[in-house]
Symmetry: C2
Subunit: 600 residues, 2 copies
């Protein structure tokens, strides 16, 4: 089997870290969530990913997508796989019930998405972006637009794409230049060029619905002058049927390091006439707000891509290490050979992969769970706290998970030895595919800056302080436990927490005195917080799994939770203190050298 | 300019870290080394690399090498570039004078090699392996074999290839099965299949000289039954002219993650008859000893590939960051934009790239210098100490430099943002190309095991202790200095040294009690030693550069040495303590989970 979905870890996380059961008591999710349903859907999604998506992952990499005439053609098998995906209802798992969706919590569809990404990252980007576009339309579009477009976007009959980036406007979205001019019938004519548009065109569906950022004639410069428009590839008639081709087309595909099957499109609007027909979504000049709603979710969806790549890489490395015989492990007789999994250094690499992957998944699920709670809880104050917690955790979840996605898939290559560098093996593809994740939806540098500049001060710092207090609570519970395997997880957690708090206090002091110090320390701080966060959640999982016991979760599962937590505590948590030290380096040294001295 | 060789850093390192001047006083290198000569050759090699090799690097990646009929055809421009390389004498820089070489020290040709690798890693592998094959032939071959083959291998008219790996014999060389049968004329007939043979065939030259490991009929199993043979692609007549085609041919090329221009060959020996004609090199069953001579150098040559990729990636990222305008840096007016190099987080990434690259280069040059001293010093005891030092440093130099090669080139991708993932930019190629370096010539795991099992105990541990004592000496000199920028480098170095010594002592204790603990701690130990080694040498460089002053080295150069040392001390050295802690994790936890629980 190319992929075997980690259903049990996911179910455990949804229950104990994402607190799915609490959601089941809310009016929004009542009757939608039960243990049996969760298990059944996760199992089925795992099967679909393994049977339909994983087998075409390699040919997707080899063939890539191409432009034929004016349209994108995806690799063999991708269109059929997408149709199966839609037919089996995977496109609509968390879509709104009012528009035909199944209305399940986001943290739940999020793990379905992880499976899809593990099996075929390039494929999964299309439905992911489509769901994001649908959410923006649902939140900000007029009733008329929603009625016309949303049901088919929710079902997956059409897909949505997000058209933000322009050559001069990447991280700096405010620099975009695409134009929108109103016409008499209340629509707009959109002109301009966009780049890096994922699945901006494809052959999966009959229509592609673009959400496009552009400027109205009276727009002010920067992000406050940006509006959001819906621009369909084909216009849609009043009866819902497909009408004339709109003046939007793909002009080129990028040649990328990975995710070859995913067409990364350069799009031209209005090349053949006065502009593509567009419809305003939300208020004029308020496009960034609409995009931000969506991008916050998208960031977390990119985070889970890191987890997915790491999981896939781990599974393949584990399997290879059991099969590959080479050398003799300690204690093995002279005339025998060993599977490389018996070598301590290989075993260490595998445990490192497993521990980081599970830590990242736990981080992502806690963040997704907080988003669900922010949406569904009945009590307004509780909703607001959950929202603040999700806001705080999101940049850590996105950056740490995508960093470890590249790291873990690189270790996967290493475990394969020379075979890891040969593309046929597949290990290298996980690494190449995952390399985009630390970049898109806000580079990890930008996530780190968001963390120190905007998230750390949330509600006067109380959001961060509550996060630390939660860790302290787990450490106390571990320290007071009568099981030695759990007790010894406490000290490393306590030490790391103290280091992280110290670094946090330092940043808070510098915020008043020299904010540039925060920018200089942002990346090590965000990494450090992720290390602490991961170590905490693995320890918390070990504690809960042990308490609920072998009868509930199985002895192998419980033993593995204890061991990954212990490994992380011993091998990764010490880096928190090192990170805390690096955070406090300050900005002064960064600007000592001018560009000429940087070359010297 | 695609590449601008860091000549001044190299010259500084050769003088102060590789101690090239001391070599100039030995009879071996007398009159061969002078400051002027070093500068002239480095400058010229930099120019050749930039003008001839860098411009074909991208097309080499795009085209790759291919088999046409029974021969390998390299990408456009590669054959011409090789001919220019030979004509300008770069193939023979450190070759033995007796066979037409220029006889310059290895540490010197080593940096020429770095330039070649920076400009075009795939190209550089051919001459690198050829030099290694020539060295093995020189050290172990008969006078007759040497007379017939060596001059043309030294000049570069023919190239050498090393044929070790077989599908079942990768890291475990002793598992190889290729056979050699003696025939009446004193030659042998070689049969079997080899894989992963770099430049095992190509169109650069008229002949390819294979050094092949195979077993004689009376060989015992394992590494003690392996012999080394010379197997030319074309037999060579007594007059030196090329004769009949030998029964060795390329059967397939691997499709790899990177270094596409370098043909990674599957080779078949004796497919068309009773075997390829081979000539024994050295004594029967002593092939591993001959290969080890060569592989020790090869390991260091792979280490410098990491430095080279990192340097190239850094140069490109630095250039991009000066050109790319995006967002506003702190303190910049609202209506202005900034080059991204002005953003603290980007600047931090660039300094991180620079500091790690220069640290790795310093590590490699010190190791290469020790090898030169081990060869050339007049005093036998001094030679022996230099040899032991080189043996100790080599696994650190190989593994740390190749690890940072991947890391730094990945940061280079990140600095480019979305453009970094687009192959056209070139940043991704550095990362893909460099990913092989932690794998070949002994994976970094194997280097780490070599360090803890064989190198740490060298001469009762005195080699390691002397290494630590040298660091202590630098720390003391820094601490006693009257310049504050130097003084403050002392404390982080002292703290890291103490942590490393503690981890070392722990390993020594465990060596007696449970050697598996050494294997478990090998990788974090080797990484930790590299971090310490790099921090030490950057601090030492800063001290020397400051003392010699701006007049000798230029103010930008001196300032950059101080700043990279300071950055490394603040941002990287704290990881030594974290690594030391990880080293002491022990092996027990690694084997708690069986493969089933590893999946749970």
């Amino acid at each position: 089997m190319l992929y075997d979905a980690p259903v049990k870890d996911m179910r455990f996380l949804l229950t104990h870290i994402g607190k799915l059961n609490e959601l089941g008591t809310t009016s929004l999710y009542q009757d939608l969530v039960s243990d049996d349903l969760v298990d059944a859907i996760l199992t089925e999604a795992g099967r679909f990913s393994a049977d339909i998506l994983a087998p075409i992952n390699r040919q997707g990499d080899l063939q890539g997508s191409h432009i034929v005439a004016d349209d994108v053609r995806t690799p063999d098998g991708f269109k059929d796989a997408y149709q199966a995906y839609v037919e089996q209802g995977w496109a609509s798992v968390s879509g709104p019930v009012d528009f035909g969706g199944q209305g399940l919590p986001g943290s739940f569809s999020f793990l379905v998405q992880e499976m899809v990404f593990s099996a075929n990252l390039a494929f999964g980007l299309c439905p992911m972006l489509s769901v994001g576009a649908a959410e923006a339309l649902e939140a900000h579009g007029s009733d008329e637009l929603k009625a016309r477009y949303l049901p088919k976007m929710i079902s997956g009959e059409w897909t949505g794409a997000m058209d933000l980036t322009e050559p001069q406007a990447g991280s700096d979205v405010g620099a975009l230049r695409a134009k929108a001019v109103p016409v008499d019938d209340g629509t707009y004519r959109i002109t301009g060029n966009k780049i890096f548009i994922t699945f901006g065109d494809h052959d999966f569906t009959d229509n592609v619905i673009h959400l496009v950022l552009a400027r109205l004639p009276d727009a002010q410069p920067g992000t406050k002058g940006i509006s959001l428009f819906l621009v369909p590839k084909f216009l849609v008639n009043d009866d819902g049927s497909i009408g004339a081709r709109n003046d939007v087309k793909v002009t080129a595909l990028e040649h990328k390091m990975g995710i070859h099957a995913s067409p990364t499109c350069a799009m031209a609007f209005g090349e053949d006439g006065e502009g593509a027909v567009g419809y305003l979504i939300g208020a004029p000049h308020r496009g960034m707000a609409a995009m931000f709603t969506m991008m916050n979710n998208a960031r977390l969806n990119v985070g889970i891509q890191g987890v997915a790549a790491a999981e896939a890489a781990y599974q393949q490395a584990l399997s290879f290490a059991q099969d590959r015989v080479q050398g003799r492990a300690p204690g093995v007789a002279r005339d025998q050979s060993s599977a490389i999994i018996e070598h301590p250094d290989v075993r260490r690499n595998l445990l490192l992969m497993k521990a980081k992957t599970e830590a990242a998944r736990a981080i992502c699920v806690m963040t997704a769970g907080a988003l669900d709670h922010a949406r569904a809880l009945e009590d307004e104050a509780a909703r607001e706290r959950a929202k603040l917690r999700a806001d705080f955790l999101t940049p850590i979840a996105k950056s740490w998970s995508t960093d470890i996605g590249v790291e873990v898939s690189s270790i996967g290559v290493q475990v394969h030895g020379g075979m890891g560098f040969i593309e046929e093996t597949g290990a290298a593809q996980f690494m190449r595919d995952s390399r985009i994740a630390p970049i898109y939806e806000g580079t990890n540098g930008i996530q780190s800056i968001d963390l120190v500049m905007r998230k750390l001060p949330l509600d006067n710092g109380s959001v961060a302080d509550e996060f630390f207090a939660d860790i302290e609570e787990t450490a106390a519970a571990l320290g007071a436990h009568d099981n030695a395997a759990l007790t010894r997880l406490a000290a490393p957690l306590v030490a790391s927490l103290a280091a992280a708090r110290q670094a946090t206090n330092w940043l808070r002091e510098r915020a008043a005195q020299n904010p540039t110090d925060l920018l200089a320390g942002a990346t090590p701080y965000c990494t450090m917080m992720g290390d602490l966060f991961g170590g905490w959640l693995l320890a918390k999982k070990a504690l809960i799994a042990f308490e609920e016991g072998d009868d509930v979760w199985g002895s192998a599962f419980v033993a593995a939770r204890l061991e990954t937590a212990s490994f992380f505590a011993s091998q990764i948590l010490p880096q928190v203190a090192a990170g805390a030290s690096a955070v406090q380096g300050g900005a002064a040294g960064l600007f000592t050298l001018d560009p000429i001295a940087m070359k010297a």
